[in-house]
């Protein structure tokens, strides 16, 4: 199998998170009764005309810049003409030609198990989505145009392809998705169809210069399926070639249940797109000053954050990965660091107890005073300031680590200042007090003491635990441990 090389070109379509459609002001939303978010424009009624959505263009521009693309000075929309019932105008407004799309000739650096890799991007362009066809039981089909006209961003990788493995294919989609969600341009919900990807897969003998025939794979609803599907196709195509056959250029669908691909019958024969600039839409003009302003306004991107958290905060790659997976989480972390928290401690609290509690309660982490989209979840009461306070109480020895967990949970539930929770419960680090407590426990437990002194050190934990019980958990555990050892060893 290693005598074959895999090449994957990836086409990703992302529905943009705008309020209204690309060329009309019908609402963009998921679900709902069919044909309730339509108007003359998105229904393609005779006489209706398109007007472009400013926000959609800004979103594509941001994405193009984040993907290191060139942005043309002038850009137009083209008509892609073909016939299908879900295409109300008989053409889709899109962008054609090499240097015309809002972004072209860019790249995305992805990290893989073999290190970082540069994936070239040919184009980032803006177009509109089609309606949905429902095949009805008993024959015939029904069309719902709620989705027709939703702004769609298409991102296509470079040719010849840089992606050479199923892992790279999966990581490209996953990390591109992360970038788009970071930018706030797409909600990334593959299961809802707001992010769709279609790999074009081919294999060739390792010593061959020319690429093999490619098949297009559709209906991949998750990263895992991207991996499985790509890998399946690789094996399938190699098997075809090994038996002396030729790979047919076709469109195949992925069956999640059987984890295999099947031949999809091609969409209506003989469609020629006859692209030409849409006469109803005036050109876009991208002032260089505006482009630079948009570039400067980009948020810190995931890869940059990942690196910075390791360099600046000395976090491990794994910890940094967890913190930077989603932008709101990373920004919460940064707010805590700004509030004086030790990055490592904050990281541990966040990836540990905080994450756990959020999951248990179904709440969302928010920073007070900062607007955020909790997607309907209740905002958690835990704030960066409070978390930092808890962390500090442990760091300066005021409470034990174990106590802190209780305090944290209480502060999470109530949103109260942790200082108010530790009165009478603070850690005791007074050496006399500890000496006495240890001495008392030794006196009360002669048998375990004897066991220890006979050489079985494991019983130390029990004895330390007794001191903790006796002091309502307030004695400073490391000090207790040290004192216990000292007294036990001393007397023997």
């Amino acid at each position: 199998m290693s005598e074959y090389r895999l090449s994957v070109g990836m086409e990703v379509h992302a529905e943009l998170r705008t309020q209204s459609k690309m060329f009309c002001r019908c609402q963009v939303a998921f679900g709902g009764e069919p044909n309730t978010r339509v108007c003359p424009v998105c229904l393609g009624l005779p006489g209706a005309l398109p007007v472009p959505n400013r926000e959609a263009i800004q979103m594509v521009l941001r994405t193009a810049l984040a993907l290191n693309c060139q942005v043309p000075v002038d850009s137009v929309f083209h008509r892609k003409n073909y016939f299908y019932p879900d295409l109300p105008k008989g053409f889709q407004v899109s962008q054609y030609e090499e240097t015309n799309p809002i972004g072209y000739h860019g790249h995305l650096m992805i990290h893989t198990s073999k290190g970082p890799k540069r994936i070239g991007i040919k184009r980032v362009h803006l177009e509109e989505d089609t309606g949905k066809i429902l095949h009805l039981p008993g024959g015939g089909s029904g069309v719902d145009y709620n989705r027709a006209g939703v702004p769609l961003m298409e991102i296509v990788t470079d040719f010849p392809p840089d992606i050479e493995s199923a892992e790279e294919a999966r990581e490209y989609v996953a990390q591109l998705r992360q970038l788009l969600v970071y930018l706030g341009v797409c909600d990334g919900k593959m299961e809802e169809g707001s992010l769709r990807c279609e790999p074009n897969i081919s294999v060739r003998r390792a010593d061959s210069e020319t690429l093999g025939t490619k098949t297009e794979l559709k209906n991949l609803s998750s990263f895992r399926n991207v991996f499985l599907g790509t890998e399946y196709e690789r094996r399938r195509q190699i098997a075809v070639l090994e038996t002396g056959g030729t790979v047919a250029q076709e469109t195949r669908g992925w069956n999640e249940a059987t984890e295999s691909s099947y031949l999809m019958r091609t969409k209506e024969s003989e469609q020629e797109y006859r692209y030409f600039p849409c006469p109803d839409l005036v050109p876009l003009h991208f002032d260089r000053a505006d482009v630079e302003a948009a570039r400067a306004a980009l948020p810190e991107l995931p890869l940059a954050k990942l690196q910075r958290y390791q360099d600046e905060f000395n976090l491990s790659p794994q910890d940094a990965q967890l913190l930077t997976a989603e932008r709101p989480w990373a920004e919460w972390f940064e707010a805590a660091v700004v509030a004086g928290g030790d990055p490592k401690a904050v990281c541990n609290w966040m990836n540990g107890d905080f994450a756990r509690l959020l999951k248990e309660t179904g709440q969302a982490a928010v920073i007070p005073g900062v607007e955020s989209d909790t997607e309907g979840r209740e905002p958690a009461r835990m704030s960066p300031e409070i978390l930092v306070k808890v962390a500090k109480l442990v760091a300066d020895g005021t409470i034990t680590g174990k106590k802190a967990k209780e305090v944290f949970e209480k502060a999470y539930m109530t949103g109260d200042d942790p200082a108010s929770m530790v009165e009478g419960q603070t850690q005791i680090s007074d050496t006399d007090f500890i000496r006495q407590a240890v001495a008392d426990v030794i006196a009360e437990h002669p048998d375990p003491v004897a066991t220890y002194r006979s050489g079985k050190g494991g019983v130390l934990g029990f004895l330390v635990g007794q001191v903790m019980r006796r002091t309502q958990g307030r004695a400073n555990p490391p000090m207790v441990q040290e004192e216990m050892r000292r007294q036990l060893d001393e007397t023997s």
């Binding site: 705008t18 309020q19 209204s20 009309c24 002001r25 019908c26 609402q27 963009v28 009764e33 069919p34 044909n35 309730t36 978010r37 339509v38 108007c39 003359p40 424009v41 998105c42 229904l43 007007v51 472009p52 959505n53 400013r54 926000e55 959609a56 263009i57 002038d74 016939f83 019932p85 066809i133 429902l134 095949h135 009805l136 024959g139 015939g140 089909s141 029904g142 069309v143 719902d144 145009y145 999809m264 019958r265 091609t266 969409k267 209506e268 024969s269 003989e270 469609q271 020629e272 006859r274 600039p277 006469p279 005036v282 050109p283 876009l284 003009h285």
Partner: protein
């Protein structure tokens, strides 16, 4: 070069027009005449000339991203040749 009947058939198919044989032949004649006139255009020197798709030069005419109500479902379906359960009905879409 005169347009062939096969080319006319191909164009009719691209445009999704079902034509009778008589129509195809009639269109062949008329298309030929039109294409003959287009030959005038080939002689013109257009090197470096920018196409003028828009009569008056405008750019960046954009709408604010604010959702507005469009049509009710009844209005949307009122002219449908066939509809049911809020959907526009079409005969079966064979993908071949």
């Amino acid at each position: 070069m005169p347009i062939t009947l096969d080319e006319v058939r191909h164009v009719a198919r691209l445009a999704r027009l079902e034509l009778t044989e008589d129509e195809l032949r009639a269109f062949q004649t008329e298309l030929d005449a039109l294409l003959g006139h287009f030959q005038d255009l080939q002689a013109v020197d257009v090197t470096g000339v920018a196409p003028k798709p828009h009569a008056v030069a405008l750019q960046n005419v954009l709408a604010e991203d604010v959702a507005r109500f469009g049509l009710t479902r009844d209005q949307a379906l009122a002219n449908a040749p066939k509809s049911r359960a809020g959907l526009f009905l079409v005969p079966s879409i064979r993908e071949d």
